[in-house]
Structures are given as structure tokens and as C-alpha cells.
Symmetry: C2
Subunit: 620 residues, 2 copies
């Protein structure tokens, strides 16, 4: 049964242009994303829990419960949050797979929750790093302490649990509620006039408020959003923009500073703007999104061009070799874009989500789901050194995927995103359903007036460009399909009892309004051919280079295919394509030799051992 009244989704605005379809309405049934969801469920979640145990981040809660923590606590100040993100991932996975109460996933979930519950203090405070004898006082280090950040992730986990298992008696929602009440008491209008150095509590509180119908939480999120930009956090070497505490959210022109913080804050601010009907704030955020996408976003969708402060650079500062493009910043960008898509209905947001999912989020995990990129460079100059599969790596220096990091935010962030991915595929409005992302799927929902909408999606996307939608229940509605911005020769084909109609459609959306009958087929045929793109002339770092794209995928040149360091490569012709694989004629700078060299989709790079790699290839 599908329940369309309360979508089982991470983001459920009370209003907006589009209503999200949740995990009970959309099921990904295979293909590119389905395979990744399966690996995530079968391997990644176990890998993460194993590391959370062995690194001590989960045992920290046991130590806290036993009153034995200070010297024994392990991990960085934000280690608690990884446990919460893991819980969130588990909750979505339980929802996605319809795991029963006796299922091992459910048992694991409950076991973790009970360990967290034991560590919560009587007034709701929950953090293994602060507040005990021998530790810093609660809220004494708002710049770096990450206490509110950790709680934000707790709230998101509780939201996932509440939406996937509303009747569960494990207690996670109660834990979150007690912590959220504490936050409102401590940081409310009459409390500490302060913010957290890492935004996240805003988005967590806003969604918890939506899920539990607690306006207080949304108002508290709004307080935190509005308090940014007054310089209440200490000056640091990288400036207060690192924390987005340099300029008020509604006055900023672009995302800036730490790229994860910036996207999380923008996501929370969008939630607040929507819930409070704050058109001025929403407009400011839309403007920031546009400027950021135009001038501060890599061709992969990646964001953040500084290693030092994991931050956005200035406008047009997009060096491929020093791209930081943190996996979590990509996920944060998807979060922000999705909220704007729900609020505005503009397909540009879905275009960026697609670009970022295929070229950042999908790039991070190895095929086995047990190693990850934290940073996603667009140019690897020196072959990397394989990471120790039992070891823990620094964040960005590993040039091959690593199993775990000292700062290990990315693996559980990928896990929760994959487990909830079906919630980003489609939306509905009063008249019909909008399909934003293309994957083999079942869509079953009903419109506000009770019309049941049910169809299946079959596609080999992104290798193949045909998306075939078959109606499985009679209903009159508008089916709207996103035509990606790169799809300049797309065709829409509708096959019914009455015959075949076919037309060209332009980038944006293609809608079919009709009284659909079971067996009707709507096909969107996207022109999946390799295309060459030149960079914006203002981007200094890739002047004189081009990139090859095919559909939503950016393609990369690896030395293992070129037979030489990619520094030697100069484009010598147009890309050619054989059965969905792309090759590019390249000249070797030193020898002048020309050959057609296979490229790989960027998300597949570094899967054949150490090599050099580049996405932007010189033409001179």
C-alpha cells in the first residue's frame, strides 16, 4: 500500500510548488542507482557499523552511559554525528526494504538506539565530548565543538525513523524530542544568542518540527538561520565566512566559506523560508544558488576549491587539480537544490542534482561499497597510493578511495543518501506527477483528489537514453518529464491504443496530459552522445581545455588507458563512440603520436589501480 498523505522522505515541506514522493511511493528497481542501493544495503552499512565500533565512536556512548568517558573518548569532536548519520541510513534502508521487526537491520537499529539512549542526560543533553568533569563545559566551544551539529544529525535520524516506522517503540524520536526541547530552552529567543560553528541543526530542527508538527522547532531553526552573519563566532585564520557568520543569510550573494557548512545552512534556511512564507529569504537563497552554480561549481557539480579550509573559492576560482569537491559538499548541494526544486518547481535544480549525483556522490564509493573518496579531484597529477583496507586515512590526501577517514563524515553521508534516494526521483502536484531523475522504478501514488497514479519506469540510463514509462492503472493526470539542459534533440513518444504520437521536446520539461489507460507508454528519448564542452572564459584554471560529457556523465582520461601520464595529452579530434563507450583522439605532447584513447565515466575512475587522470583536456 502506498500512503501519499505523509511522504516517507527526508524533506516534507508543509507547502511549496511540488510535493515529494516518498519511499512508499517510489521504488527504484534496478539500474545504475538500484545497484548502488543494493551495495549500500549489503556492504556499506555493515562496513560503517564495524568502523564505528572499532574506531570507538559508538563505544563512546557506552562510556558516557557508564560515566567513564574523558580520557577514554575517541575520535574528533563530531564523532557522535557519524553514529546518527549511520542510524539515519539504517532507518531509510529499513523503510526502503520493508524490513520486518525481526530483520537484522531492525535489530541493529534498536541496539544502537539503546546505547544512545543510555548516554542521554536527564535534561535532554546528548554529547560524548562535553559537559562532564574533565571535559569542556556544554556550549563552551561553539566554533569547533559541533554539539548542535551533532544534534542536527540526531534530529534527521529521528525524522527518518518517524517517517519510515511511525509506530516504532525504540525511543529514538523521544531522544530527539528531549534534545530539541533542550536546544529551544538554551538557544531560544530568551536564551543564548548564539549559533553553531557548523550549520546542520537548522535543517535538523526544521524537519523535526515538520515531522512532529512542532512549530517551536521550526522557529528555533529560523532563529539560528537569522543569527548567522553577525560575527558572533570568533575570527579565525580563514575569516568568519568559513562559518557563514560574515554576512546575514538574506544578504549574501553566493555560497561561501566551508562548502558543507554553506550548503547545510542554505538547506535549513530554505526550509525556514518555506515554512514561514518568507519570500524575501527564498529569493535570496535562489540568487545564491544561481551565482554559486554559475561561478563556484565544477563541471561535475562538485563544490569547494580550497583544501585548506574545505571552502568555496572566489567566483571563477575552480582549479581542477586542487578541486576539493568534498563528497559531503556534493550531498549538501543536492539537499539545497532539492529544497529549491520543491519550493519553485524549476528544473535547473533537478539538473544540478543529477549532475552532482552522477559525478560526485556516485564517484565517492568504490564498487564494493567499502572505500570512499572524501575529496573528488578533477585532475590527478601523480598516481595515488592504495589505501590500507584496514587503515584510517587523512581526509583528502589519499588519491585512491579509502575505507575510513579520521574525519569520516562522507561514508555515512553517502549511505543515508543512497538509502533514501527514491525520495529524490519524483514529485506530485494537484494535476499530476513530475519525474526528475531517471532510473528503473515503480511509482505509485495518489493525487489530492484521490486519483491513483501508477506507472513503471524502464531505462538503461545513463548508458541508454530511452526512458520508457508504462502506465499500470487507468487515470487522467499530467505526467511531466524533465528534459535535461544538455538534451537539445530530445524526442517524446506516446504510444496508446490510438497509436503513436511523437514530437521533439526542448530542455526544461515535457508534459503529457491525458486519460491514461493501462498499457499506455510514454517514452522520452534523450540524445546520449558524447559532447565536447569548452569552459566559461572566466574560469582561468581550464582555459584552453575541453571536457567530454555524455548525458549526465562527465568523462575522464586515465593514464592506464592513455599509456602515458595524462599531462602528455592534447585533444586531436572529436570524441567517437562505440556501444556507449567514449574514446577521444589524443596527441602525445612529447612524441606527437596520435591515437584514439578510451575515456571512462568520471565516477568509475581509479578503479584499476593508481593512475593519473584529468577531466579537462588541453586543446593546445
Amino acid at each position: 500500500m502506498f500512503d501519499s498523505t505523509a511522504p516517507v522522505a527526508p524533506v516534507v515541506p508543509r507547502h511549496g510548488r511540488l510535493r515529494p514522493l516518498g519511499l512508499s511511493e517510489v521504488r527504484i528497481t534496478g539500474g545504475f542507482w538500484g545497484e548502488r542501493q543494493d551495495v549500500n544495503g549489503a556492504a556499506t552499512l555493515t562496513h560503517i557499523e564495524s568502523r564505528l565500533e572499532s574506531e570507538g565512536w559508538l563505544p563512546n556512548f557506552d562510556l558516557a552511559a557508564a560515566g567513564a568517558l574523558p580520557e577514554g573518548r575517541r575520535g574528533r569532536e563530531f564523532a557522535d554525528s557519524e553514529v546518527y548519520k549511520y542510524l539515519e541510513a539504517l532507518a531509510w534502508e529499513i523503510g526502503r526494504t520493508d524490513a520486518a521487526a525481526a530483520d537484522p537491520l531492525e535489530q541493529r537499529f534498536r541496539a544502537v538506539v539503546s546505547r544512545i539512549a543510555a548516554a542521554q542526560e536527564s535534561d535532554g543533553y546528548l554529547n560524548t565530548r562535553f559537559g562532564r568533569p574533565g571535559q569542556g563545559d556544554r556550549w563552551s566551544d561553539l566554533e569547533w565543538g559541533h554539539e548542535l551539529y551533532c544534534l542536527g544529525h540526531l534530529f534527521q535520524a529521528a525524522v527518518a525513523r518517524h517517517r519510515t516506522r511511525p509506530d516504532a517503540d525504540d525511543g529514538l524520536v523521544g531522544i530527539a524530542r528531549r534534545a530539541a526541547d533542550l536546544v529551544c530552552r538554551e538557544f531560544g529567543a530568551d536564551g543564548r544568542d548564539a549559533i553553531c560553528g557548523h550549520a546542520e541543526v537548522e535543517v535538523g530542527l526544521a524537519e523535526l518540527g515538520r515531522a512532529l508538527d512542532e512549530q517551536r522547532y521550526i522557529d528555533q531553526a529560523a532563529l539560528f538561520v537569522e543569527r548567522h552573519g553577525r560575527g558572533s563566532l570568533r575570527e579565525i585564520e580563514w575569516g568568519q565566512e568559513y562559518f557563514q557568520d560574515d554576512v546575514p543569510v538574506r544578504d549574501a550573494e553566493a555560497l561561501r566559506g566551508h562548502a558543507v557548512r554553506a550548503n547545510y545552512l542554505a538547506s535549513g534556511a530554505t526550509d525556514v523560508a518555506v515554512e514561514r512564507d518568507d519570500a524575501a529569504l527564498l529569493d535570496a537563497l535562489r540568487g545564491q544558488w544561481e551565482r554559486t552554480v554559475e561561478r563556484r561549481t565544477y563541471v561535475t557539480g562538485g563544490q569547494g576549491s580550497h583544501h585548506q579550509d574545505e571552502a568555496f573559492g572566489d567566483d571563477w576560482e575552480l582549479p581542477p587539480d586542487r578541486a576539493y569537491s568534498e563528497t559531503c559538499a556534493g550531498i549538501g548541494s543536492v539537499m539545497f537544490s532539492w529544497r529549491l526544486l520543491l519550493a519553485t518547481g524549476e528544473t535547473a535544480h533537478a539538473d544540478l542534482i543529477e549532475r552532482t549525483l552522477f559525478n560526485v556522490v556516485a564517484t565517492s564509493p568504490a564498487p564494493d561499497g567499502k572505500a570512499f573518496y572524501y575529496a573528488n579531484t578533477l585532475h590527478q597529477r601523480v598516481p595515488g597510493v592504495p589505501a590500507d583496507p584496514e587503515g584510517t586515512s587523512p581526509r583528502a590526501s589519499s588519491s585512491l578511495r579509502a575505507p575510513w577517514f579520521e574525519v569520516s563524515c562522507c561514508p555515512p553521508n553517502v549511505a543515508r543518501t543512497f538509502a533514501s534516494l527514491a525520495a529524490y526521483v519524483a514529485t506530485a502536484d494537484d494535476e499530476g506527477v513530475q519525474l526528475h531523475q531517471y532510473a528503473p522504478a515503480q511509482v505509485r501514488t495518489s493525487l489530492p483528489d484521490g486519483r491513483a497514479v501508477a506507472f513503471d519506469v524502464a531505462t538503461g540510463y545513463p548508458v541508454d537514453g530511452t526512458i520508457r514509462i508504462t502506465i499500470v492503472e487507468d487515470a487522467e493526470f499530467v505526467l511531466t518529464l524533465r528534459v535535461p539542459s544538455w538534451a537539445s534533440d530530445a524526442v517524446l513518444r506516446v504510444t496508446t491504443e490510438e497509436g503513436l504520437s511523437e514530437k521533439s521536446v526542448l530542455p526544461g520539461t515535457a508534459a503529457v496530459e491525458r486519460a491514461f489507460r493501462v498499457g499506455d507508454v510514454v517514452e522520452l528519448v534523450l540524445p546520449l552522445v558524447a559532447r565536447v564542452s569548452a569552459p566559461h572564459p572566466m574560469i582561468d584554471a581550464v582555459r584552453g581545455c575541453v571536457v567530454v560529457e555524455r548525458g549526465p556523465e562527465v568523462w575522464a582520461l586515465e593514464s592506464v588507458d592513455f599509456g602515458a601520464d595524462v599531462a602528455e595529452a592534447v585533444v586531436a579530434g572529436d570524441p567517437v563512440e562505440v556501444e556507449g563507450r567514449v574514446a577521444l583522439p589524443l596527441r602525445r605532447r612529447s612524441s606527437g603520436e596520435v591515437a584514439e584513447v578510451p575515456l571512462v565515466p568520471y565516477h568509475d575512475w581509479a578503479q584499476r589501480g593508481p593512475s593519473t587522470m584529468r577531466v579537462w583536456v588541453p586543446t593546445v
Copy 2:
């Protein structure tokens, strides 16, 4: 009187291809560098001492002497070293200006030395940060503690004092000797098998050994050099190459890791190679220098393309907008190149010294000598914010020169370099004198066989290209002049009683061997015209751009001259020159408007308030 037996210079190898001429043999009498030396003596030294007092770094020694340090100590772990570099600068300035014992400079010097002396422990240990109750144990944090690093700077200060005032009774040389003896006891062949995380003690010990004729110190320096590259320092996020502890010095192919550490280590290793006649080590260092200059050095001579770890990037990774190009790395590069020049006589080393002095070291200080660049970007995308003249800035984020930094290594490093600059101008061998850098100067020395060599240099270099050398004492010798690598149409003119002879000379050296008579004039005429250079095709970050150079100076485009953000600029013609000032025809990207826009020598940029700036200008 000139004393040529023991040059008054920072670097005095016992043998090698060339013998340095010291401050008693070469005096800079004005011009570009003379003005900077005067500002350094009149303003910078006082500015530094005032900050060392107000920041607490000099009072730390008083606290240490009074046994009152732990909570009261101020500054970073390497704060002691800034006091030593200041002392070194004072010592050279006293030597340069022949300050008498009653001179305020001499009084200041003695006052600082007595405060340091009071803080030295009975066994020779000297550091305000370690070894007391409430502090870390001595040598307990070799990665970051900087104890040996600080002592290396103490040794260099003592060398400066010993060479400029060999009979002084202030005690600095004794302090250094006791500390060096302690280092040899603690870290000798039978002691701790360890190195310091920041190279510097190697170069300090080697020179102290030369100055005091203590082979033990040189051998200890050799031990430290050879111990690098065995991974004895802890792994850190940026890898052991940060400390040059990844690969043995004699096996490395290029400088790598932290650019100041790398150059200081290479300098010490060159000293060791020369003193121990270790041709294999010297060859390795020459190879590293060549590879580093070809692939890891900016057009300014700047080194270091990573902000995060203040490090060299990979080969060809030279982003102008994220150039770190730390002032101290430039000074370290001059130190390394100078040692190789003395050892080999190859003019390429002097070429790089000139490039680096004019475009990195001269760029750092403001004209008033009281504000500095720590990092030297080649592309300023956003107008900077003026630094508070009373404040203390982070290292690299200030985009206008700042009076002081939390890590304030650069100001005293510039000061000691300027005060000793005459020692980098000329050298001698058995047959004559070599002039490497061009400035108005007096040169007075004698060759090993007793021949007195005396001449004056007059020049308006680098604005004017004529270097006029007038002989002031009869003598037969070979006068060798460096012809810079960019000087493709240089002319050498010799005017004697016999008349004028003139010939074209090629880049490299031009030598005149004759029995010079008083009044003979040798003129080197260098073609000082603006020239346009394209980057090496392997440097990705500036593909499709050109740089304008004139003589040794790199020129820059500033928005204040362009009348628009420099991001708008596209080259529209060849540079033109009016009275030594260079202008470049530029097209505005948005409007298409073309105008001749004045450029400024890079070292003069950011002297007219906040502006955007670029050195590499797009041609497309």
C-alpha cells in the same frame, strides 16, 4: 680596511668554486636595493623589535629567566626563533653600517642578548616552550616543537655576530656554542636518532662549525641531513614529505613538502656536501634544484603552491590564484641557490636569485618597511581588506600587506636578508672577481696572491640596463659579469686609455681579463625592454595566458589601472614602453573596449589600496 681572509657573510664555505665577498668587501651604495636596506635599517628593525616586545615573544625570555613561564608564555612554538632572526638582522646591520659600540643598534643588540643569556639553562638548553614543570619535556614533540629549528636560527645569529664583530664580549657566540654542544650530546651518533620537524638546525650548525672551526658541528649537521627520509617523524595528514622525511636527501628528485622546510634543508645539505666533499650529495641537490626550478617555481621565483600545508605542489602545479609563494620560501630558495652558486659557479643559480629577490623578497615589504606579505599571490581575484596597522593578521588571508602575523617568520627573515644583501652581490676566485647582482656598489677585495681588486659599480638597474664599472686601483684580474638568461642582446663595452672596445655577449657570463688601470670603465648594457613570455605548455593553470617581464622584473596588471576587475582583461597587442614604464593593450571581455593599460612591477603592487591583480593575462 677590507679583510678578504674571512668574509663577513652568512655563508663561508671552506672550499668551492667561488669565494663569497662579504660586507667588508662589497658595499651597496644606493639604488633599488640600497633604498630597501636603508628603510630596513631605519624602520623595519625598530618595527620588529616593538612587535617582539608587544607580542610577548621577547618577554618570554624574561619570564623563562624568572622561572615564571608556563601559563604566561605567549606566541607559537617557534616564537623564540623570531627573536634570533631579529638578532641576526641587527648583527648584519651593525656590520653593514659599521655601528660603533655606542650606537643605539649595538646597545639594542646587547640588551636582547643579555635577556636571552639569562634564559639559557646551565647545560646549554634554550627554549621558552619546553622542559619546565607544566610544559612538555624537552625534545618530546620533534614534529611540531621547533626546538632545534629555533636553535638553528640562534646559531645563524651567532655566526652573523662572530663575523661582523669577532671581538665582541656580549656572549652570543658562547650561548650558541653551549647550545650546539648540547645538541651534539643529545643528537650525536650515540644519542637520539632523530630530526626536527622543521629543518634549519642543519644550516645553522654547519655555518657555526665553519665560523668557529668546529668540525663536530658540521658532522652533527651531516647526521641530521642524512637522517631525513627515514620516516622517523609521525605520519601527518599531508604525508611525511611535509617534513622532507619521506625520501633521503640524496635520493630525492625535487624539493617537495613544506617549501620553507625544503629549502632550508637543501641549504644545509649543500653546506654538508661541500664541507665533506660529497660529490654524490651535491649532484643530487643540483638535480633537485633543476627539477624544482623547471617544474615547481613560479615566474616570480616564488615556490609553494599549496596553502593548506604551505607546500610545493606536484610538477607543473602552479596556480597563480592559489600561489602561496611564501616570502620565507623565497628567502630559502635564495639561500639554496647561493650555496650552489658558490659550489659550482653556474650562473643559472644567480639568475634565480635575482628573479626571486626582485619578485618575491622585494614584494613582501611595504615601502615604509612596516608591513609585509607572508604569501605572494600571482592573482588577486577580490580586492583585499587593509590590515589594521596595530593588529596581527593570519598568515595568508590578508590580501594587503600586514604589519605582523600570528606566524611572523617573514618580517625578520626579510630584515636579515636585506641587512646582509651585499654578501650576495659578488664572489672571487684565484683569477678575479665575479659580479652576480647589479646595484650601485663599491667592491674592494684582494685575491689570494695579494692583488688588490677595487672598483665601483654605478647603475640605474633595473629601470636602466647599463651597469658601469669603474676601476679605482690598478690591478690585473679577470672581471666576470653575469649576463642574465633573458638578456639576448647584451653588449659589453670596455673603455680604457687605449680607447673603446665593444662586443655582443650571450647570456651566461662576460669576462674581461686585463691589467686594469684606475679609470678604466667596463659597461654591460642589458636590453631592458618589455618582453612577453608564454608559459611552459605543461603548466595547466596559465594555459592561454602570457606574462610581461622587463629585465628581472615581472609586471602585473592592477584593477586600479585597468578601471575594471582584472578578470575582464584580454591581451590585445604587444606591450609598449614609455620611459621605463610598461603598458599593455587590453580588451575588456564584456564590452570589447580596447585601451593601453599601465602595468606595475609586481613588487610594487597593492600600494594604492585594494585592487584585483593578475600577473598572467589571458590572450583568449
